[in-house]
Amino acid sequence: MGFLDFLKPRKLPPPTIEALFKLPPVGVTMEQLGLQPTGMSGVCFRSIGARDFEQMKVDMVNILNNNSFPAHYEVSKDEYGFTWVVIDSNSMSDGVSNVYLASQLLLEGGFGDHILVAVFRFDKADQPVYWIYNYRRARFYPFAPRGKERDAALEYRLRMLVMEALPVDTLDYWFPIWGIPF
């Protein structure tokens, strides 16, 4: 126990998903910096019990197959024990809608404590630039992995370009997520 523990709030802010829809309108601005949307997106959450997980998968299939935003999707686990629902949509805005539905399913299923981030992939000169949505802060931040490094200058410039239209988190929260499975 550190002596500064009393500064910590008792509760985490609840995850929210409405701000996800602020991403599609800035797509045009991003293209000015050479970013191409890929339609690839994903939801990352802390793994849940096996039975819940199977049920969730069934529900996810139903939701993602029976809406008006056709997509392919895959479920995988990563080395940190987090589950990824990777969604391949026809466009970035379809991807946002699908991520919204998948997130809603998780929140309604009572897995709100497990949900971590949503990730949207763009490409710049064939290299990925991700916009990561932090559910609890209801803000986005950019992540441009380049090998084992990240291109923080590019990320900062992206931030300056979109920060008036998109809620971008402060630099202190730009946690990397290495090995995003798409």
Binding site: L7, K8, P9, L12, P13, Q32, L33, G34, C44, D78, Y80, F82, L116, V117, N134, R136, R137, R150, A152, A153, E155, Y156, R157, M160, L161, T170, L171, D172, Y173, W174, F175, P176, I177, W178
Partner: protein, 299 residues
């Protein structure tokens, strides 16, 4: 003399703001002197003292700065990479090659000084050379050489003359040296002069700092035009400003219990100090470079 004269496209707005600042500064200067004259204050002595002090500062600017910063002039053999970069920029801009110095500190920074283009020194800290990549170093040195090209030492020395005079005035009041010139003047008149000097000092300081910030923006422009890559300087500025270091390096998933969301972020925002700052804010500088990047086109 240099045959090659490079023509830089002008930023009309920036030039206009710079010009206006200098006009206002000149007006304050003249206003101050005429009020002193009208009050019958003998200011010849003070102006001579200030002029001598400024003259020393101006003519020995390179030596003074080198001595106070601990910078050491390095030969091409000692610092081949740094010299090669300076050589290249000088060849491109037609500037005479300045002396090159290294400051043995870990803080990433660079500066240029010297009263004229042929008496200039360009210095980089060891921290700058260690932390920045080749492109970023080129951008920073191009910024510094733009200061040399724009004759910023001369411009800023002249611009700060007024605040120096006002400063000596205030000082001479405080130490009573002024009494010798008082003659038949009453203390009320002296008090007015004292207050006036204070006001003039603050106003002219504000104006010179404003001018300094414009010169910085002009040097940023110069760097972007020399390298053709504004993004190099953006990247360098981010590293020098320490902004990059705020970005966390631990993977989000390895943070236990999501506690990372409750780190209290550093408070940010504009403040009164911005008025007195010698450099524009990082955001302002990057915005200008970002605009240039747009017009120059992306690679």
């Amino acid at each position: 003399m240099n045959e090659r004269v490079i023509r830089w496209p002008r930023d009309v707005g920036l030039s206009l703001r710079m010009f206006l600042t200098m006009v206002i500064l000149g007006a304050v200067y003249l206003g101050f002197l005429s009020v002193l004259y009208w009050l019958g204050v003998d200011i010849t002595m003070l102006i001579i003292i200030a002029a001598v002090m400024m003259g020393i500062q101006y003519f020995f600017s390179d030596k003074l700065v080198l001595a106070s910063s601990g910078a050491r002039i390095v030969s091409p053999e000692e610092a081949p990479r740094l010299h090669a970069i300076v050589d290249r920029i000088c060849a491109e801009t037609g500037l005479p090659k300045p002396r090159v110095a290294i400051v043995p500190t870990d803080v990433p920074n660079a500066f240029a000084t010297g009263r004229s283009q042929s008496h200039s020194v360009i210095a980089a800290t060891q921290g700058l050379l260690n932390r920045l990549n080749e492109d970023e170093i080129v951008a920073v040195l191009a910024h510094e050489l733009s200061h040399v090209k724009n004759r910023d030492v001369a411009v800023m020395t002249i611009a700060s003359f007024l605040s120096t005079v006002a400063y000596y005035f205030i000082m001479s009041f405080m130490y009573g040296g002024f009494n010798r010139n008082r003659e038949e003047k009453n203390t009320g008149g002296l008090f007015i002069v004292y207050i006036l000097s204070m006001v003039v000092y603050v106003v002219s300081l504000l104006l010179t700092r404003l001018l300094s910030r414009y010169r910085e923006l002009a040097a940023d422009r110069g760097s972007a035009l020399i390298t053709g890559r504004p993004s190099w300087l953006i990247s360098a500025l981010l590293k020098i400003s320490g902004q990059m270091e705020r970005i966390p390096s631990r993977d989000l998933r390895s943070e236990e219990g999501l506690n990372q969301f409750f780190i209290v972020p550093a408070l940010a925002g504009g403040s009164i100090m911005e008025l007195f700052a010698t450099h524009p804010t990082l955001e302002k500088r990057i915005r200008q470079l970002e605009r240039m990047e747009k017009t120059m086109g992306y690679q």
